[in-house]
């Protein structure tokens, strides 16, 4: 009896993996610090200066009835390519817990530290992904506020490229070294070979070094060399940190990398909020719209999930009082995320906030609902398990089983029918 049960579970799992996968890669454009939903994806033009500040209008999109922030005119022209979640919520107003929740899907406060979804995907693809490039890459660095590897360990953490993609030379850590050319490195390697006297782990280390040489001089070097792109393409993304990071992400996905985290900072706008928005949003608009259209034009959008958002949103009410003098605080009660590609349909809006944006009015979406949906589209069972070093198998998304922390996967905006995979 038990055997039959196990076999059927196994079959179910196999059929799951075979049929549910829509996406091969994920690009997370992470706006670290907490971007304001009001100026981006959930504008409130009908409120007063207390809420809308110096902004007046909206950008009407190419989809009837969807409006976004007025500083995002380029994204407004391609709203049919993405959907918006306007009812993200987790209630945490602290960077570290908000970040933890948005990047793991686990409600903070539990006894176990979960891995980020980049690490989970990296773990799940460990046998099937054969690329030379790491499985999970951060352009240019991951947020190190908690251990991204969680209980899976360091092995699955992201590879941080370091360097600056918008500079003339993008010095990718360990790959592009402006001081040492191939002759010098080969010379050094030969000397090391003769010098090395202690035999510890020799075989392993030798083979890892050989892989690294391939990594340094092989295809990966080409992938990170943005000079290979036509100038017009580089300009379209914008010659900014976020622009060239998004371009790098596209090139990495083309090369088959399963998870790319484009992390940009500076969204924690407690003061001078509107000045910051005026300078940052055009760069985001350019970069993100170029990324989505470019992926689409290359036929990659169907197999690539693009996500954009941060650890939380910002207070809908402007803090005009001193010392903020026109800032917005942390706000985890109701904020927005953009999702596109890889099985996510475009031109839809999920959820709604109330008139002032201070409350979720319809269809709350919890972090695990979003991340569970990403797992589903990546062919990973959102109700599956992960191994813990001392606690055995743990659910991959424990919150998904808790009605206070989950409101169900986002079937309304993906091309997989509810019921096919629901447990």
């Amino acid at each position: 009896m038990r055997k039959i049960y196990l076999t059927s579970v196994l079959l179910l799992a196999l059929s799951f993996a075979a049929t549910a996968q829509r996406a091969k890669s994920v690009i997370l454009v992470y706006l670290d610090g907490g971007p304001s939903q009001t100026e981006t994806f959930d504008p409130k033009p009908d409120t007063s200066r207390d809420y809308y500040g110096s902004y007046k209008g909206v950008a009407k999109t190419n989809v009837e009835g969807i409006e976004i922030g007025e500083k995002l005119p380029l994204l407004a022209t391609i709203a049919d390519k993405y959907s918006l979640i306007r009812s993200m919520t987790h209630g945490s107003n602290a960077h570290e817990t908000g970040h933890y929740t948005m990047i793991t899907g686990d409600a903070s406060g539990g006894a176990v530290v979960y891995p980020s979804y980049g690490a989970v995907i990296s773990y799940m693809k460990r046998d099937t992904y054969k690329g030379v490039l790491p499985c999970y890459i951060s352009v240019t660095s991951a947020n190190s506020r908690f251990n991204e590897g969680g209980f899976l360990g360091n092995e699955y953490k992201s590879f941080d490229t370091g360097g600056r993609p918008e500079k003339e030379v993008y010095e990718v850590e360990g790959i592009v070294n402006k001081f040492v050319d191939s002759t010098a490195l080969s010379r050094r390697m030969a000397l090391l070979e003769e010098f090395e006297t202690l035999p510890m782990d020799k075989q392993k280390i030798d083979s890892l070094r050989a892989i690294n040489m391939e990594f340094i001089w092989g295809q990966s070097r080409e992938v990170f060399d943005l000079a290979n792109e036509p100038d017009s393409v580089r300009q379209r993304y914008g010659m900014t940190r976020i622009g060239q990071s998004c371009l790098t992400a596209r090139r990495l996905v083309e090369a088959g990398v399963p998870f790319v985290n484009v992390r940009t900072t500076g969204w924690d706008t407690h003061k001078k909020h509107f000045q910051f928005m005026n300078s940052m949003l055009p760069n985001l608009d350019k970069a993100l719209s170029a990324l989505i259209s470019d992926l689409d034009a290359r036929g990659l959008l169907d197999s690539t999930i693009v996500l954009c958002g941060g650890e939380f949103g910002r207070t809908p009410k402007v803090m005009w009082e001193a010392p903020w003098n026109g800032g917005r605080g942390h706000f985890g009660a109701a904020f927005s995320y953009l999702v596109a590609g890889g099985g996510f349909v475009g031109g839809k809006v999920v959820g709604k906030t109330n008139k002032t944006g201070e409350k979720v009015a319809e269809r709350p979406v919890y972090p695990c609902d979003l991340i569970g949906t990403v797992y589903l589209l990546m062919g990973i069972d959102p109700y599956g398990t992960l191994p813990h070093v001392s606690m055995g198998e743990l659910p991959i998304l424990p919150s998904l089983l808790n009605s206070e922390q989950s409101n169900g996967l986002l079937y309304e905006i993906i091309d997989i029918k509810k019921g096919d995979y629901e447990r």
Binding site: G174, F179, L192, T197, P199, S390
Partner: protein, 470 residues
């Protein structure tokens, strides 16, 4: 003759089921002891002085000096911080002031060589403000502050027990928390009004505890725990110290004591435990004793008693900083605005797992999420090797190194250069064959002395001899 003696020792050791190989050289011993006890490299001068010292007991004198050094207290503080999960932010959430006070408290215990039983008593029986009675931070560092979680952690830390099944947690059910108006200050106090509904708590080993009305119930448990009759309490610490030094416990994992996980050398464990108890839980004496065992002095071999270990992340990072003379700067992101650590702060001394750097993350700094020793992963990875091989950040540090510049500016001969660098990076003088190797290399490639120096540093920091404590 020496070989013959070694053979006899080997044969007799096999008979005693202990594999002890030949004694390691002075160079190896010095570097090994420095790294194990202080987490730092000896300076070039220290190396020369030790190597040229003719005293027969120089190893013992070195060990005495090391275990009494500030660097040792600071490094042991890091080990304690790992298992007590000292961290400002998620998931311990002790916050910077609490972290600072807690670290200071541990440092003082180690500096004053407070006996282990007394230290644990103070830790577990603490009450008051987390700023003024720092040990109470023990009770704060849990996402779920429940008696069950406190008790589980105490079992893991002090008894190596991963799976406690008795209801000793009742002894911790009076612990309460109260915040004050000060940012992140908390008062830990006991609720004496809680009624005793049970008169007896039976522990797994059959001991019965009897908590009294109007008293701190933790006390009956802690009395039992730290008693010298509770041999397991002493054994776990002895084994943990052994693990800290050798990277492998006599019982392994060091926090997984079970019936079916036996010590690899019961006699050794028994001897050390007897010694620890009879010394009244003197941790410094225990450390010294371990450092003077045949095992610690034996030559490294894959299957021998001393197995080489890759250096921990913090130690590698500090070693790279020592070699180049260029140190990373560390800062804390909470509370805003960011607070910067003083320049040249050692990574081993940071005391807060929230504070990190790219280099530390790369080499696997412990994130202090759990109290298990196994959370530290010292496995060498391709990314770490990639960084050492070809990072422009690291290369720039070598090129900018004032230390290297100074060595080169003195117009050294090839021999002097080789010795100066090898002493600094590998804590020994260069061998004759190495000197020949470098000379050939320089001539073949037509390098200047300065270029040779850069390549020499590169080769040495990429060698196993640097990356491992061997």
């Amino acid at each position: 003759m020496r070989r013959f003696l070694v053979l006899i020792v080997c044969i007799s050791s096999v008979a005693m089921c202990r594999v002890v190989s030949a004694q390691c050289s002075d160079e190896v011993f010095l570097r090994r002891a420095y790294l194990a006890v202080t987490g730092s490299l000896p300076t070039a001068q220290t190396c020369e002085r030790f190597l040229d010292d003719d005293n027969f007991n120089k190893r013992e004198r070195l060990v005495s000096r090391l275990v009494n050094s500030e660097l040792s207290f600071k490094y042991m503080q890091m080990h304690w911080g790992d298992i007590l999960r000292i961290k400002s932010e998620f998931p311990s959430n002790l916050w910077p002031n609490g972290v600072q006070a807690y670290n200071r408290w541990i440092y003082e215990q180690l500096m004053n060589n407070v006996p282990y039983d007394k230290m644990v008593r103070e830790l577990l029986l603490s009450e008051g403000s987390n700023f003024r009675s720092p040990a109470v931070n023990f009770y704060r560092g849990f996402q779920q502050r429940t008696p069950e979680n406190f008790y589980k952690n105490i079992n893991l830390l002090f008894l190596g027990n991963r799976d406690c099944r008795d209801n000793g947690h009742l002894c911790f059910s009076q612990v309460r928390f109260k915040s004050t108006k000060e940012w992140k200050e908390e008062i830990i106090y006991l609720d004496y009004h809680k009624k005793v509904y049970y008169t007896q708590i039976e522990l797994e080993d059959g001991t019965t505890l009897t908590p009294q009305q109007d008293s701190d119930w933790r006390e009956v448990y802690v009395n039992w725990l730290t008693s010298s009759r509770n041999r397991r309490f002493a054994e776990v610490m002895v084994n943990r110290m052994w693990y800290w030094i050798f990277g492998r416990g006599i019982v392994h994992e060091p926090d997984d004591w079970r019936e079916d996980n036996r010590p690899s050398d019961p006699q050794l464990l028994a001897e050390l435990t007897d010694y620890f108890i009879s010394s009244k839980f003197d941790m410094r004496k225990l450390l010294k004793k371990i450092l003077l065992t045949d095992e610690f002095e034996s030559e490294a071999a894959p299957a021998g008693y001393y197995t080489p270990q890759r250096l921990p992340a913090e130690v590698i990072v500090d070693a790279l900083a020592t070699v180049t003379g260029i140190w990373d700067t560390y800062s804390s992101r909470v509370p805003e605005p960011f607070t910067f650590y003083p320049p040249r702060t050692r990574a081993t001394h940071l005391g807060d797992a929230t504070v990190s750097s790219t280099e530390l993350e790369l080499f696997g700094k412990v994130s202090r999420d759990v109290s298990l020793e196994a959370q530290r992963n010292n496995e060498i990875s391709s990314r770490q090797l990639l960084y050492l091989m070809n990072s422009s950040v690291l290369e720039q540090r070598i090129r900018k190194s004032g230390v290297l510049k100074k060595i080169c500016e003195q117009n050294p001969t090839l021999e002097q250069l080789t010795d100066a660098i090898t002493l600094r990076v590998l804590s020994r003088r260069a061998t004759d064959s190495e000197k020949r190797l470098y000379k050939e290399y320089m001539e073949q490639n037509g390098l200047s002395l300065r270029d040779l120096a850069l390549d020499m540093v590169w080769v040495q920091i990429n060698s196993n001899e640097f990356l491992y404590n061997h």
